[in-house]
């Protein structure tokens, strides 16, 4: 992990389990963040009133005020990134978290490197855009923390530029222009290469998709943006 100027950024860790709060706090301190611990949703909201906080790691199942309710409350006032950290792994739990305004969802037990990478990425975006997403215009397509600048032909992930090849850029442009829409490999090929697809196409497209994922996703195995729709095709998840 490259050293960055992230000194002084404040992360609030909210979990009713003291050991989990302590271990995550220590890991965050290693990365150079300041940490405010909280042990339930109520306490988190109170501490949030008194301290400037840049990012929240939020557990869901907590006494007094659970994570989702706390999230709803704090979203009335704050736009800081919130990463839900929960042992609930079902798709419905993730969806309800994201719908209520969470920026990300990390399963417990977390992978430490991945968690740190996500914290870093969300803070970077927050720093770059301050909770507001940049305005979409004719030259820019924006989806979550992903910005595609058609004029400059560059892609920004959470405020940081990533280098894509021309083909990768074209595929990503196609997917970002139609977020949520599923494209088969043939469709992607015909759109990007401008020629009709043949038998070997499938693999070519898939390899490119994998490369794109490795570049824009924090964890290519658990993609947030470019998702596989099994047996059908690929799509850009809409945020």
């Amino acid at each position: 992990m490259a050293e960055e100027m992230n000194m002084g950024e404040v992360v609030m860790v909210v979990d009713d389990n003291k050991e989990i709060v302590y271990s995550i706090s220590e890991l965050l301190k290693y990365e150079g963040y300041r940490v405010i611990p909280a042990y339930d949703g109520m306490e988190a909201l109170n501490l949030l009133e008194q301290n400037p906080v840049d990012l929240i790691l939020l557990d869901v199942m907590m006494p007094r005020l659970n994570g989702l309710s706390a999230l709803m409350k704090l979203r009335e006032k704050y736009r800081i990134p919130v990463i839900i950290l929960s042992a609930k792994t079902e798709e419905s739990d993730k969806v309800s978290g994201l719908v209520l305004g969470a920026d990300d969802y990390v399963e417990k037990p977390y992978n430490p490197a991945e968690l740190m990478a996500r914290v870093k990425a969300h803070l970077r975006r927050y720093r770059a855009w301050g909770g507001e997403l940049p305005k979409e215009n004719d030259d820019q397509i924006i989806n979550g923390g992903l910005v595609l600048d058609k004029k400059q032909r560059i892609v920004l992930v959470e405020g940081e530029e990533v280098r894509l090849t021309a083909t990768e850029y074209k595929i990503l442009e196609l997917l970002m222009e139609h977020p949520g829409q599923v494209f088969s490999s043939e469709q992607i090929y015909e759109n990007v290469w401008q020629e009709s697809a043949n038998y070997t196409v499938e693999n070519t497209v898939m390899v490119h998709i994998r490369h794109i994922r490795e570049k824009i996703e924090i964890d290519a195995k658990k993609p947030r943006y470019v998702k596989v729709v099994w047996g059908i095709g690929y799509k850009m998840e809409k945020y």
């Binding site: 977390y110 596989v228 099994w230 047996g231 059908i232």
Partner: protein
């Protein structure tokens, strides 16, 4: 439904009581006795003054006597039946059997009475034929009074029988009517019981899912602490040996997490709480996607994957995320357990059976471990077996495949031949 059923019962009762006990009822009864008395008086005059009456007169008095006695007797019989059946309940459980038995007795009584009357009439006739010497006055040549009495006995028997039959039929109607109600009630009861038991089942299913959810949460919480502290240890100055130890612990913690998730998914699926979102997808395409997705792991594995996918259309309408887990688990299984340097074959084809099309998928690999287990050991692992614990897998993969295949309406089978392991899947190509 219930009120109607009760109505019939109470209506029948009140009707009977009214007739028997009311003042009009008593008046009617008295009147009937008088009628019957006049009837008897006529017969009496026919019999006693037989020598004074010519044949025509005897017949006329006989008819009058029959009419009067018959009217009185019929109404009184009706009252008697009403009184006897005052406590009768057509809604009773064995109403039909009871009704049958009671009427058997009543009919027998009627037959006795009728028979006795007929015998008396016949005796009287024979007495006349013998000259009528015992009672009254002198020799008798006119048998008219004898015929009249025999006919009277028969007529009264028929009339009383008709009244009784009328009531019998009416009561049978009531019973039938009640039977219907009883049946409907029984059906309702049965449905209620079924509904309750279903509710119970679904409640216990819900309990089981809650239990699974809670247990997996409770297992994950300490594991989360462990993962955090392991990471903290890694950041300390460690000797090489301790670093190796910590790496092992770290790896195992990761495995434990996978296992908890697998266990959770398996338990959830086998308790029948699977929410499916069927949509059309291509099996062949999915397999290619999985290979692309696992490309790096396949390269690391030093195994050769040979695919033989049918050119035909392998579209299924099913839940593709569950189907993905099935395929991914099978390939994962081959990756984990194959002998180094061997080849893994992945094949799809279409089958025709009884006019229905089925998509067939098989994964064949050469095991790197001796396979001293049976298909049941693996598939029903969750319930029993402990034989299949080899290598670094948690062994739940194939149990998940089996459970998910069943949930999606497919079939899963395993063929083991020496070191060759073949997993087969069969899914009907539905159009709905």
């Amino acid at each position: 439904m219930d009120t109607k059923w009760k109505n019939i019962k109470s209506k029948a009762k009140s009707f009977l009581e009214k007739c028997w006990l009311s003042s009009t009822g008593i008046a009617v009864k008295l009147f009937c006795f008088v009628l019957a008395g006049f009837g008897i008086a006529f017969w009496y005059s026919v019999v006693v003054y037989r020598t004074y009456h010519p044949t025509g007169e005897s017949l006329f008095f006989g008819i009058l006597g029959n009419a009067l006695f018959g009217a009185g007797q019929m109404i009184l019989t009706a009252f008697l039946i009403m009184r006897k059946f005052r406590e009768w309940d057509p809604g009773e459980k064995d109403a039909y059997v009871k009704w049958q038995n009671r009427w058997k007795i009543r009919n027998r009584r009627l037959q006795w009475i009728g028979g006795t009357a007929l015998l008396i009439a016949l005796w009287y006739m024979s007495y006349l034929m013998n000259g009528g010497m015992y009672i009254g006055t002198g020799w008798q040549y006119n048998y008219a009074s004898g015929y009249v009495m025999i006919l009277s006995a028969l007529v009264q028997f028929v009339l009383a029988g008709a009244v009784m039959n009328h009531f019998k039929k009416k009561q049978l109607d009531m019973i039938m009517c009640n039977f219907e109600k009883i049946n409907q009630n029984r059906i309702k009861e049965a449905l209620e019981i079924e509904r309750k038991s279903l509710e119970k089942v679904s409640r216990s299913d819900q309990l089981r899912v809650d239990l699974i959810t809670n247990v997996s949460h409770d297992l994950k919480t300490p594991l989360t602490s462990m993962v955090g502290y392991i990471e903290l240890i890694k950041r300390e100055e460690l000797s090489d040996i301790v670093r190796d130890y910590v790496d092992v612990i770290s790896e195992r913690a990761e495995k434990l997490k996978e296992m908890i998730n697998s266990l959770f998914n398996l338990a959830k699926a086998s308790s029948g709480n699977v929410e499916l979102h069927p949509e059309p997808f291509e099996v062949n395409r999915m397999i290619e996607q999985i290979f692309a997705d696992m490309d790096d792991r396949i390269k690391e594995s030093h195994l050769e994957f040979v695919t033989d996918l049918t050119k035909e259309d392998t579209q299924l309408i099913s839940d593709n995320s569950y189907f993905y887990r099935i395929c991914q688990n099978l390939i994962e299984n081959a990756l984990k357990y194959s002998a180094k340097g061997t080849r893994v074959f992945v094949k799809t084809k279409l089958l025709q059976s009884e006019g229905k099309e089925e998509v067939w998928l098989e994964v064949t690999n050469t095991s790197g471990y001796p396979m001293d287990f049976t298909k049941e050991d693996i598939i029903e692992r969750f319930a029993r077996g402990d034989k299949a614990r080899t290598g670094d897998g948690n062994g739940l993969g194939l149990a998940i495949v089996s459970t998910y295949a069943k949930a999606l309406g497919g079939e899963f089978d395993i063929l083991i031949d020496c070191d060759q392991f073949k997993a087969c899947l069969k899914f009907p190509k539905k159009t709905t």
